[in-house]
C-alpha cells in the first residue's frame, strides 16, 4: 500500500509516454497499450483505495513529493475521503480503459496516428490528474492536477473534431473552467498566504484564525469555482456541449468522475480546511448549497427531457445528479453540529457520497451504451435511431439497466442514495421549524419531481433509441458492439446491481470519509446499525424512531414474485402464440408510426413552457393551392434560460464593446504621443503631487 501512489503514477505515466512513442510505428498499438496501462493504473488505484478504506480506520497515507517548486513543499495525503474518491475515479476508469480501444477503432477508423497518440496520452494524463487530485496533500498539487485534468479533457474533447463544433465546445469548456479556476486560486491563495505554506495542515491552521465574513467569502469563492466544474446551474452551459463532444468513454469519465472530483474539492475545502474549529458551519453555506442543488436537479432534468441528442441528454442528466449530490452535501452542512456529532448529517453526507459512486456507475454505463450506439450507427440524434434492441440486445439491456438506475427506481443503486437523501430531508424537516423546514420539504418535493421526470426522460431515451422500428438505414444495419465494449459496460452494470441490491455492504467504504469529515460516527454506525441487510436511519431527536428498509429483501421479493408472475405469464394452458403487425387502425405500419422523441416530450414541453420558451416553426410546401399540402417542415427548439439570458448577453456585450473600442483607435501617431503625454501628466498630478 505504501507504494500504491508510485504504482499508479508509473502506470499512467508509462501509458502516456508509450502512447507518444509507439504511435510512430502504429497508432492502433499505441491506443491499445495506453489503454492497457490506464486499466492497470485504475486497478492499482482500486487496490490502494480499497486497502485504505477497508484497513484500520483512520489510517492516512502521507507521501512527500519531490521538491518541484522551491516555494512550496509538495506532498500526497490519502485519507478516507481521498481514498473514497480515488475509488470512484478508478471504478469508472477500469470500464473506460477496457471499453476505449475498440470504441475508438469502431468510431473513427480513419484516425491518423497523431490523433491516436494524443488520445492515448491525454487519457492517461486525465486519469492520472484526477487520481492525484484526490490524493493531493497541498494546494499546489491540487491546483496543478485540477488544471491538468481540465487541459487533458480539453484535448480529448477537441481530438475528435469534424466540423469545428467540438472546438467551440472545447473553447466554452476551457473558458468556464478557467474562470472557475481563477476563483479557486483566490480561495486557496488567501489561505496559503495566511499560512505561509501550501500543505493542507497549514491551511487548516490558517483557516482557524479567519474571521466570519472572510471565511464565508472564501467559501463562496470556492463554491463558485467548484460549482463551475461540477456544472451547477447556471454555471452548467459548457457541460452539455463539452461532454458529448468527447469520445464516449471519455464522456463517461467526464460526466461520471470529473464532476465528482469537484465535489471532492468542495468537501475537502469546506469541511476539512475551512470549517470553523468550534460551532456549526455558517448559516448561509448549507442553505446556498441546498438551494443550488435543488435548482440544478430540477432544471437539469427538465432540459435533459427536451434533448434529442443522446449524449447531450445524458450530459444534462449529470447536471441533475450533481444537484442531487449537492442536496445531500448542503443538508450535511446544515445539520452538522460539532457538539452533537450529528448522526443526521452523517446520513446526508452518506447519501451524497453514495450518490457520487452510484452516479459514476450508471452514468458511466449509460455513456458507454450511447457510445456503442454511436460507434455502430454514427448517429447521436435519437430521432434517427430506433429498433436497436433487436440488433444490439446486450447494449440495449445494459442501457435499460442504467436507465432504471438513474431514474431512482428500486431495486437498483440510484434509488438507495435518493432514499437516503429523502430520509435526510425528512430528518431536516423534523428539526427545523418555520420557513427553513418548509424549504427542506420543498426540496424533497422537487427531488421527487426530479425522479419522476428522469423516469419520463429515460422512457423516452430508451424507447425511441432501442425500441420500435429503425428510422434510418444506419440504425437498421447496426450490429452488436464487440465483446470488449460489452465487458466495460457489464462491469458498471454489475456495480449498479450490486450497489442497489446489497448497499449495506458498501457502507463500510463510506465509514472513513464520513467519519473523517464530520468527526462523528461513520456511515455504517448510523445507516447499517441493524446489520448490512437493513438500511436504517434514526431521525427523531431521541433517536428511537426511524425508518428502515432492506434493499436485499425487496430484491428477493421481486425475484420471487417475478418467478410466480412468470408462471402466470405463460398462461394456464399452452395457447398458440401468433406474430402480427402492430395495430395502426388498419394501415400498414412503418417507422413513421413510431412515436418520436419530440412528440413524446411535447406534453411536458407545454407544461413547463415557462422554463423552456419553446419556439417552433412550421412551413408548408403546397402544390399550387393551399389545400394540397406537399410537405410540412417542422423545426422546434427550446431555449436554455441561463445560456440566452446570461451567457449570450455577456458575450455579445463584451465583443460589441471590444469592437467599439478597437474601432475608436485611429492609428494616428499624434494620438499615440498624446496618450504618452497624458499618462505622464496625469501620473504627475495624481501620484507626484498628491502624495
Amino acid at each position: 500500500m505504501e507504494s500504491g501512489p508510485g504504482v499508479i503514477a508509473a502506470c499512467y505515466g508509462a501509458g502516456a509516454l508509450l502512447s507518444l512513442l509507439l504511435a510512430r510505428w502504429s497508432g492502433r498499438l499505441a491506443l491499445v497499450v495506453s489503454h492497457l496501462a490506464a486499466a492497470a493504473g485504475a486497478a492499482a488505484g482500486l487496490a490502494l483505495s480499497l486497502g485504505l478504506l477497508l484497513g484500520e480506520p483512520g489510517r492516512t497515507l502521507i507521501r512527500p513529493l519531490p521538491n518541484f517548486f522551491p516555494f512550496a513543499k509538495l506532498s500526497l495525503l490519502i485519507d478516507g475521503l481521498s481514498a473514497y474518491f480515488l475509488l470512484v475515479v478508478s471504478v469508472v476508469a477500469v470500464a473506460a480503459a477496457i471499453y476505449g480501444p475498440a470504441y475508438l477503432r469502431a468510431h473513427s477508423p480513419d484516425a491518423g496516428s497523431t490523433r491516436q497518440a494524443a488520445q492515448g496520452f491525454a487519457l492517461n494524463v486525465f486519469l492520472g490528474c484526477m487520481a492525484f487530485l484526490c490524493c493531493a496533500g497541498d494546494a499546489l498539487t491540487f491546483l496543478f492536477c485540477w488544471e491538468g485534468m481540465t487541459l487533458a479533457s480539453y484535448v480529448l474533447v477537441v481530438s475528435d473534431d469534424r466540423d469545428g463544433e467540438n472546438a467551440r465546445a472545447g473553447l466554452l469548456y476551457m473558458v468556464m473552467a478557467h474562470g472557475g479556476t481563477a476563483l479557486l486560486l483566490v480561495a486557496f491563495l488567501a489561505l496559503t498566504e495566511r499560512a505561509g505554506a501550501f500543505d493542507f495542515a497549514a491551511l487548516r491552521a490558517a483557516a482557524a484564525g479567519l474571521d466570519g465574513p472572510t471565511r464565508t467569502t472564501l467559501f463562496f469563492l470556492a463554491l463558485g469555482g467548484f460549482a463551475t466544474k461540477a456544472g451547477v446551474v447556471p454555471l452548467h452551459v459548457w457541460l452539455p456541449r463539452a461532454h458529448p463532444a468527447a469520445p464516449s468513454h471519455v464522456s463517461a469519465l467526464m460526466s461520471g468522475v470529473m464532476l465528482k472530483v469537484a465535489i471532492y474539492g468542495l468537501l475537502r475545502f469546506t469541511f476539512d480546511l475551512l470549517a470553523p474549529v468550534a460551532g456549526p458551519l455558517p448559516f448561509s453555506w448549507g442553505w446556498t448549497v441546498l438551494f443550488v442543488g435543488t435548482t440544478s436537479a430540477v432544471l437539469g432534468v427538465l432540459y435533459a427531457l427536451q434533448q434529442h441528442d443522446l449524449k447531450r441528454l445524458l450530459a444534462f442528466h449529470s447536471v441533475e445528479n450533481i444537484g442531487i449530490i449537492l442536496i445531500g452535501v448542503g443538508l450535511a452542512m446544515i445539520l452538522w453540529r460539532q457538539s452533537t456529532g450529528g448522526a443526521l448529517a452523517t446520513v446526508a453526507l452518506t447519501a451524497a457520497l453514495l450518490h457520487t459512486v452510484n452516479h459514476a456507475a450508471f452514468k458511466g454505463l449509460l455513456f458507454l451504451g450511447a457510445g456503442s450506439v454511436l460507434s455502430r450507427t454514427h448517429l447521436r440524434n435519437i430521432e434517427e435511431l430506433g429498433g436497436l434492441a433487436r440488433r444490439m440486445p446486450w447494449t440495449a439491456g445494459l442501457f435499460l439497466l442504467g436507465a432504471v438506475a438513474i431514474s431512482a427506481l428500486p431495486p437498483l443503486n440510484g434509488f438507495v442514495s435518493e432514499w437516503l437523501t429523502f430520509q435526510a430531508l425528512l430528518g431536516g424537516a423534523t428539526r427545523f421549524h418555520g420557513p427553513a423546514g418548509l424549504v427542506i420539504v420543498f426540496s424533497a418535493a422537487m427531488l421527487a419531481l426530479t425522479g419522476g421526470l428522469a423516469a419520463a426522460c429515460f422512457a423516452k431515451a430508451f424507447g425511441v433509441t432501442f425500441l420500435g422500428r429503425p428510422r434510418t438505414s444506419q440504425a437498421e444495419h447496426a450490429t452488436e458492439a464487440p465483446p470488449s465494449m460489452i465487458a466495460g459496460m457489464l462491469w458498471l452494470g454489475a456495480l449498479c446491481v450490486a450497489l442497489g441490491v446489497a448497499p449495506g455492504y458498501a457502507m463500510r467504504l463510506l465509514d472513513a470519509p464520513t467519519a473523517a469529515l464530520l468527526h462523528g460516527p461513520g456511515a455504517s454506525a448510523v445507516v447499517t446499525a441493524r446489520g448490512p441487510l437493513v438500511l436504517s436511519t434514526a431521525l427523531t431527536p431521541s433517536g428511537t424512531n426511524g425508518t428502515a428498509i432492506s434493499m436485499t429483501m425487496v430484491a428477493a421479493l421481486l425475484i420471487a414474485l417475478s418467478a410466480i408472475a412468470l408462471l402466470l405469464r405463460r398462461g394456464v394452458r399452452r395457447a398458440p402464440q401468433r406474430v402480427a403487425p402492430t395495430w395502426t387502425c388498419g394501415m400498414t405500419p412503418t417507422a413513421r408510426f413510431d412515436y418520436t422523441a419530440t412528440a413524446f416530450a411535447k406534453p411536458l414541453r407545454l407544461v413547463f413552457a415557462a422554463l423552456y420558451h419553446p419556439r417552433r416553426e412550421v412551413t408548408r410546401e403546397t402544390a399550387g393551392t393551399p389545400y394540397v399540402v406537399g410537405r410540412i417542415h417542422y423545426a422546434g427548439e427550446i431555449v436554455d434560460l441561463a445560456e440566452t439570458h446570461i451567457y449570450h448577453r455577456v458575450e455579445r456585450e463584451i465583443s460589441a464593446l471590444s469592437q467599439l473600442i478597437r474601432a475608436r483607435s485611429t492609428g494616428r501617431i499624434y494620438g499615440y504621443i498624446g496618450f504618452v503625454l497624458a499618462a505622464l501628466f496625469v501620473a504627475l498630478l495624481l501620484l507626484g503631487v498628491a502624495y
Binding site: P70, E147, G170, L189, T192
Partner: protein, 490 residues
C-alpha cells in the same frame, strides 16, 4: 576573468555584426549568426557561473549582479533560439521574396547590433549608459522594423522611433532628476559624481523623496513607453506586427524586458528613498491599466501578430503588477514572469510566423485548420497559446501564481479582482483565436509542404524550456532568482 567578460559580452555581437558585413552568402551568414549566438550563450553561462560563485562583478560602467544576470541569460538564450529559427525562416522568406538576398547582410548585422545594445542595457551599471544603450536599441530596432521597406513597415517604424524616443527622453529627464537628488545628497557638484546605480543605491535612503518621486514618475512613463505599458503602448502592436518574425520575437521577448530592467533599477532607488509603497502604487496603476487596456484589443483582433503584441502589453502589465505587489514573492514572481513570458512569447511568434508563411496572411480569419497542414507547428502554436493564457503545466502559470500570491498576501483585493477578470476574458479571446486557427478545415490556398527542421528545432528548445519551467523551477535558477529578488527588495 568575469570582469573581462563584462567587456567581451557586448563586443561579441558587435564583432559578429562587423564580420557579417563581409559576405553576402546566406549560408555563411546563417552560420556566423548561429555561431556568434552560441558563443554568446557560452560566455554568458561562464559569467553566470562566476557570479553565482563570487557575487556581483563590476568593471567601469558595467556591472553584473543577479538581477542583470536574469535578463542577460534571457537575452542570450532567445538570441540563440532566434538564430536557429532564422536559418529556415530566411530560406523560405528569400524564396518567397519577402527578404531580398542582396540586403541580407545588413539585416544580420543590424540584428547583432541590436543584440549588442540590449546586452549593454542589461550590463550597464551607469544609469546614463543604460539610457544611451536603450536609445541605441530603439535606433537599431527601428531600422529592423522598417526592414521590409513597404510603407506599413515604415509607418510602424516611424511610430516606434518617435514614440519611444519621446518615452526615453522622459526616462532621461527622470535620470537627470535622480542624479540631481544624488548630487545634492552626496554633496558633489557638476559632473564629478557618477550615475552609477550601485553608488546611488548606497546613499539612496538619504535622497530627497520629493524629487525622486517626480523622477520615478518620469522614468516610469518613459521606460514604460519602451516596455509597452498602457497607455503608452500604442506603438507596440504596430511595431511588433510589422517587424520580420525573428525580430518580433526579440522585440516582444527581450527588448521590452530590458526596459523593465530599467524600471526595476529606478524602483529600487525610489523604494529606498520614498519607501516601497510609492513605487508600488505607481507600478500597480500602470500594470492594471495595461492588463485592462489590452483586453478589448485582444478580443476583437484579426491580425495574429498584433494579437501577440497586445498580449505582450498584458504580460508587461502582469510583471508590473508583480513588482508593485512587491515583497519577495511578488518580485520573484515578476522576475520569473519576465523569463517565462520571454520564452513563451518568442515561441508564439515563431509558431505564428510559420503559420503566416503557410497561409500568406496574418489575418486569423483566413488561417484555418493548421492542424491538418502542419501538425507539429499547430501543436506548438496551441501550446504557446495555452501557456500565454496561463494554463498549467506551462511556465507562465507558475509566475502568475506567484504574482497572485503576492497580491493576495498584501491584500490588494480590488487589483486582484480586476486582474483575474481580465485574465479570464483574455483567456477566452486567445483560446478562441488559437482554436479557430488550429482546428477546422484548411483553405485550399494553404501551403502543405513539409515542416522545415530548423524553425522546429528553435521552437522545440523554447517549448522544452517552457514546459520544464512549468513543472519545476531548477535549483540553480531558483538561487539566481532569489538573489535577484534580494537585489530588488533588499
Amino acid at each position: 576573468m568575469a570582469e573581462t567578460l563584462l567587456w567581451v559580452l557586448p563586443l561579441v555581437p558587435t564583432v559578429t555584426a562587423l564580420l557579417m558585413l563581409t559576405t553576402r552568402d546566406r549560408r555563411v551568414l546563417s552560420a556566423i549568426d548561429v555561431a556568434g549566438s552560441s558563443v554568446l550563450l557560452a560566455l554568458a553561462l561562464i559569467l553566470a557561473r562566476d557570479v553565482a560563485a563570487g557575487g556581483p562583478r563590476a568593471l567601469g560602467v558595467f556591472r553584473v549582479d543577479a538581477l542583470g544576470l536574469v535578463f542577460l541569460l534571457l537575452v542570450v538564450v532567445l538570441t540563440l533560439a532566434v538564430s536557429i529559427y532564422t536559418v529556415g525562416w530566411l530560406k523560405q522568406a528569400v524564396a518567397v521574396g519577402n527578404m531580398k538576398a542582396e540586403y541580407l547582410r545588413s539585416y544580420f548585422a543590424l540584428v547583432h547590433a541590436f543584440v549588442a545594445t540590449m546586452i549593454v542595457t542589461v550590463l550597464a551599471d551607469n544609469l546614463g549608459v543604460l539610457w544611451i544603450a536603450m536609445e541605441g536599441t530603439t535606433i537599431t530596432s527601428a531600422v529592423l522594423i522598417g526592414y521590409h521597406g513597404h510603407h506599413h513597415g515604415l509607418e510602424a517604424a516611424w511610430k516606434y522611433i518617435i514614440v519611444t524616443t519621446i518615452g526615453i527622453s522622459f526616462g532621461l529627464f527622470g535620470t537627470v532628476l535622480v542624479y540631481a537628488a544624488y548630487a545634492a545628497a552626496a554633496g558633489v557638484h557638476g559632473g564629478a559624481g557618477s550615475l552609477s546605480w550601485s553608488a546611488i543605491m548606497q546613499v539612496a535612503p538619504t535622497l530627497d523623496p520629493g524629487i525622486i518621486r517626480i523622477g520615478f514618475i518620469f522614468v516610469m512613463v518613459g521606460y514604460g513607453t519602451k516596455a509597452g505599458l498602457a497607455p503608452m503602448h500604442l506603438w507596440l502592436p504596430d511595431a511588433h506586427s510589422q517587424a520580420p518574425t525573428p525580430v518580433s520575437a526579440l522585440l516582444s521577448g527581450v527588448l521590452i524586458k530590458c526596459a523593465l530592467l530599467g524600471i526595476i533599477r529606478f524602483q529600487t532607488i525610489a523604494a529606498a528613498a520614498c519607501g516601497p509603497a510609492f513605487p508600488a502604487r505607481v507600478l500597480i496603476v500602470f500594470g492594471l491599466t495595461s492588463v485592462v487596456v489590452a483586453t478589448p484589443f485582444i478580443l476583437a483582433q484579426h491580425d495574429i501578430k498584433r494579437l501577440l503584441g497586445y498580449h505582450s502589453v498584458e504580460h508587461v502589465g502582469i510583471v508590473a503588477l508583480g513588482l508593485g505587489f512587491g515583497g519577495p514573492v511578488g518580485t520573484y514572481g515578476a522576475l520569473l514572469h519576465v523569463v517565462n513570458h520571454g520564452i513563451t512569447k518568442a515561441l508564439a511568434f515563431f509558431a505564428a510566423g510559420k503559420a503566416i508563411a503557410r497561409y500568406g496572411t496574418r489575418d486569423m480569419r483566413v488561417i484555418r485548420g493548421l492542424l491538418a497542414v502542419a501538425p507539429i507547428g499547430a501543436t506548438l502554436l496551441m501550446l504557446a497559446a495555452l501557456s500565454l493564457a496561463g494554463v498549467p503545466p506551462f511556465s507562465i502559470f507558475v509566475s502568475e501564481l506567484m504574482v497572485l500570491r503576492a497580491g493576495i498576501g498584501h491584500g490588494h483585493w480590488l487589483a486582484i479582482a480586476i486582474f483575474l477578470a481580465m485574465v479570464v476574458v483574455i483567456f477566452a479571446g486567445l483560446l478562441h483565436h488559437a482554436g479557430a486557427m488550429v482546428f477546422g478545415e484548411p483553405p485550399a490556398t494553404a501551403s502543405r509542404e513539409p515542416e522545415a527542421w530548423s524553425p522546429l528545432i528553435g521552437m522545440f528548445v523554447l517549448a522544452a524550456i517552457m514546459i520544464l519551467l512549468g513543472l519545476t523551477i531548477p535549483a540553480s535558477l531558483d538561487r539566481l532568482l532569489q538573489r535577484a529578488t534580494e537585489v530588488v527588495v533588499g
